[in-house]
């Protein structure tokens, strides 16, 4: 029967105690390892930078069976050791879940698991693109842009209006390019007017100023768009309908496409809009990495993110790089919106959850880290898909979507505050 007042709820864990004990094991030995290990390492005058995080993961994995040898031998805790322990934790977690709920679709249905994993990866790639702009801005300006979601929203709105209202029938690339131009321009103008004083030391409390001014921009853009475009949801048509294909020709068991869908191995089904959005995200990621690593300007951006004063001594104008970074970050958000306006219904408030998710992703990946943002996006996408797919209670599984990312964020902040790829504080 149901939990609380939901008589229609069903699908409870068959042996919930097993899963509960496993979680208790993780929590107890994780805390013991995380608290005691750095003390032991410090007493022996050893490196303690990874002791807390490593001790927690190693403790959660095998409890006293791994902690006692660790405390006696006190080896150097490196990423490899943490990785192995982390894999063990994940393995034990999955095993406990499978034992506790053997009939769960995530345990009993391999095709379902692969489909959910594919869903998670596809949406994770898109999340990653969303977060890239935010982390780029933070890495150069040291500012968390609270208007990131609104640039995302504007990117989608411009694409919709270009392709559906102003130039009906125009190819999607026109809308995408227009969204890039508009969001880049808004970012450029805003940075020059409102953020430039940050770099010249004119602002007494730059952190607070940046928060307030980007919040102001967010509200302005949101309500300005609502005034212009109304609050009714809109949606762009799918960009590129797939041709009807079957490989092999008679069965389509390897690959089958319809205008709205692609099916791989008769198992993984990806809707057309998501597929094209993820593809666009990958192309943009590659282009961004090429720009950052193979052009002078990109290298200059990276130099400023590492050391502003040294970069200035080398002839790079940090203020120009600030402007470029903010404009590029805004454009990346806009591009993300442009690619997703064919996936989701779009309205002026659409950026709010997207921005919240981006914040989770960049903290998870490490503030200012581009690979971290992308990996963080993937992790959040997969965790959300897994959570929604595997939580036994059907009435709650999707309602918890915002919580899955927050659980990951909390764990990361507890165990590794600098994130997966963050610089040491």
């Amino acid at each position: 029967m149901a939990c609380g007042s939901l008589p229609f709820a069903r699908n409870r864990m068959e042996h919930a105690a097993i899963f509960g004990w496993a979680l208790l094991w993780f929590a107890f030995w994780g805390v013991v390892g995380g608290v005691i290990t750095p003390q032991i390492y410090a007493r022996k005058d050893l490196e303690i930078s990874q002791a807390s995080f490593g001790g927690a993961v190693i403790g959660a994995a095998l409890g006293p069976f791994s902690l006692l040898p660790l405390w006696i031998a006190t080896p150097k805790i490196d990423n490899r050791m943490i990785g192995v322990a982390g894999a063990l934790v994940v393995g034990i977690f999955i095993t406990a879940f499978a034992l506790a709920d053997p009939d769960n679709l995530c345990v009993a249905n391999g095709e379902f698991v692969i489909s959910q994993l594919a869903n998670g990866i596809v949406i994770g790639i898109i999340y990653g693109l969303m977060a890239l702009g935010l982390t780029l801005i933070f890495s150069i300006l040291g500012v968390v842009s609270f208007a990131h979601g609104e640039f995302y929203m504007i990117g989608g709105m411009v694409t919709y209006f270009m392709t559906a209202e102003w130039l009906p029938g125009a190819p999607p690339i026109v809308g995408i390019l227009a969204s890039c131009v508009v969001t880049f321009s808004i970012g450029y103008i805003f940075e020059r007017i409102f953020l430039r004083p940050l770099g010249s030391g004119q602002i007494e409390r730059p952190g607070e100023y940046a928060i307030l001014v980007t919040f102001g921009l967010a509200f302005f853009l949101q309500y300005f768009t609502q005034a212009l475009a109304s609050a009714n949801p809109v949606k762009a048509q799918r960009f590129f309908p797939f041709p009807r294909t079957e490989i092999p020709l008679d069965s389509g068991s390897l690959l089958r496409t319809t205008p709205g869908n692609i099916t791989i191995l008769d198992t993984i089904s990806i809707p057309n809009p998501r597929f094209t959005a993820a593809l666009l995200a990958l192309i943009m990621l590659a282009a961004l990495l090429w720009f950052l690593y193979h052009t002078w300007t990109g290298k200059a951006l990276r130099a400023v993110s590492q050391d502003r004063q040294a970069a200035a001594v080398a002839g790079i104008n940090p203020n120009s790089m600030n402007t470029l970074a903010f404009s590029l970050g805004a454009m990346l958000a806009g591009l993300s919106g442009a690619s997703l306006v064919q996936v989701f219904s779009w309205l002026p408030q659409v950026g709010i959850p997207a921005a919240a998710r981006s914040f989770v992703i960049i903290v998870l990946g490490g503030m200012g880290s581009l690979p971290g943002a992308f990996l963080g996006g993937l992790v959040v996408g997969i965790v959300e898909a897994a959570g929604t797919g595997c939580v036994p209670d059907a009435t709650r599984a999707a309602a918890y979507i915002p919580a899955y990312g927050m659980v990951i964020l909390t764990l990361v902040l507890l165990l590794k505050p600098t994130g997966l790829f963050g610089r040491e504080l």
Binding site: L6, P7, F8, A9, L105, F112, Q116, N119, I123, A164, I189, I193, F194, R196, P197, S200, G201, Q202, F220, Y223, F224, Q226, A227, L228, S230, A231, N232, P233, V234, K235, Q237, G260, N261, S269, P271, N272, R274, R308, Q309, A312, P318, F344, S345, L347, P348, Q349, V350, E384, A385, G387, T388, G389, A394, T395, R396, A397, A398, A399, I401, P402
Partner: protein
């Protein structure tokens, strides 16, 4: 670069220039924003429509007071995550009622002023704007309302302040079952809506011959969605039909993972109880995944009746069944026809959604009650509403269960308190892509049928 402690003159000039340009840019942006805002102006998060004619100016202050407009408040979701389609239809409809009343000389010889506020479909927002309407704008009564969660919250504020409310669209049973003297409702009850849904499903199974053994319900976590899902599940269970419910937050966007679970359930029918863009997102994403309304019989939420928004957001939504409140167009009375003419002229829409009809009636009902009471005293208005017989666009509206005929005396459930007992509920089906909801085929019940249902996936 280390900033100097003693900036040079040139530096100071630069700073002044930057400040000047920043201020100029802000002023310009504000001007653009103000210029581009639609009229009537949207100020902050509150939309106010002055539907009144200006009161005649007189020399004596007492006369001015006597000519002061009578203010009626109106609730509508005009921003996400609310069902904006519902809110905009109400926003367009209610001023028509106000204008008609003012054109006929107003109320008690005074102009009627309608103040519409944006609830965003959120209970906390509903509480705040209802407080504002009552305590700041001094409205004498409130109409409109779309979301049940807002209705549930707003009724408490209205009750605390003794201000009568005629809810147009909120369905939650508890809005009336608490038997507050101030609360009246035109919309059907949640439980009655569920009953209609289940009777329709039963009709599909028993009369049309559709094989239905399992139904998936996709609901929103609100005071509308959860009770309807519960009641629908219970009633389906009595028919031997299994129901599996998935719930999401209002305004949810991403459904891919939950759609995989829905697919794994292999349902014979899907019922969506998600309003606003959440409903649109689910239906289209389900269609993308191969279990949309063209693949599995799907009862879509009534926001799907906002045809323009529906087809923009759900291009693959053909064959959706949609529950429609109010009389079918062929049974429109003179009030509804006149309203529709004006509504079409003002909005350019071909049809009026049921939300619009109910909202229009809610304002006219309040106005008639004030006229019959001959006063703006809340108690007098409530008494008048209890005894009212109103010819509205939804039909003849009465509230037969009231203080003179309580639910206990009538042997009825308390939910019928101050409840319009006869709203017509039909099920229509889009049978052509891009079809206007007014032209959608009425398939159930038989007495209102204009065509046979198209059954997919059988």
């Amino acid at each position: 670069m280390i900033p100097s402690l003693f900036p040079s003159k040139r530096r100071l000039q630069q700073r002044r220039a930057q400040k000047f340009w920043a201020a100029a840019a802000l002023a310009l942006l504000t001007l653009i924003f103000a210029a581009c805002a639609p009229l009537p102006a949207t100020v902050g998060d509150t939309t106010q429509e002055e539907a009144a004619t200006e009161p005649q100016s007189t020399a004596a202050p007492a006369a001015e007071e006597a000519m002061a407009p009578i203010k009626i408040g109106a609730l509508a979701p005009l921003s996400a995550p609310g069902a904006v389609g519902c809110g905009e239809a109400m926003r367009d409809a209610m001023p028509i009622a106000a204008d008609e009343i003012n054109a006929q000389g107003g109320l008690l010889g005074r102009p009627l002023e309608l103040i519409i506020v944006d609830t965003e479909g959120l209970p906390e927002r509903g509480t705040a704007v209802t407080e504002r309407l009552i305590n700041q704008d001094a409205v004498v009564a409130i109409g409109g309302g779309c979301h049940s969660s807002v209705g549930v919250a707003a009724k408490e504020v209205a009750h605390d302040n003794g201000v009568p409310v005629v809810f147009a669209v909120p369905w939650n049973d508890t809005i009336t079952s608490v038997q507050y003297p101030e609360i009246f409702r035109l919309a059907p009850l949640n439980s009655e809506g569920s009953a209609i849904d289940v009777k329709f499903i039963q009709w599909l199974r028993d009369k049309v011959g559709v094989s239905i053994e399992k139904v998936v319900i996709l609901t929103e976590n609100t005071d509308y969605g959860i009770p309807v899902a519960e009641e629908t599940t219970r009633l389906l269970g009595e028919l031997g039909i299994e129901a599996v419910t998935f719930s999401v937050d209002i305004g949810a966007q991403e459904f891919a993972a939950i759609i995989e679970r829905v697919k794994a359930e292999n349902p014979d029918m899907i019922v969506t109880l998600a309003t606003g863009e959440g409903g649109y997102n689910f239906i289209q994403q389900a269609a993308d995944a191969g279990i949309g309304p063209q693949d599995v019989p799907m009862l879509c939420n009534q926001v799907s009746l906002v045809s323009d928004a529906f087809w923009t957001n759900v291009p693959d939504g053909n064959f959706c069944f949609v529950r429609r409140i109010g009389p079918p167009p062929q049974l429109y009375n003179d009030v509804a026809i006149n309203f529709l003419t004006e509504y079409q002229a003002r909005t350019g829409k071909e049809a009026a959604e049921s939300f619009a009809l109910a909202a229009y009636d809610s304002i006219r009902l309040i106005a008639q009650a004030i006229s019959e009471a001959g006063s703006t005293d809340p108690t007098e208005i409530i008494n008048a509403l209890e005894n009212i017989t109103h010819e509205g666009s939804l039909g003849t509206i009465t509230f037969p269960i009231n203080q003179n005929n309580t639910p206990e005396q009538a042997g009825l459930d308390p939910k019928w308190w101050h409840q319009f007992p006869d709203p017509i509920i039909t099920v229509v089906q889009y049978q052509e892509a891009g079809q206007d909801s007014i032209n959608a085929i009425s398939v159930y019940p038989a007495s209102y049928q204009t065509g046979d249902p198209v059954i997919v996936g059988q």
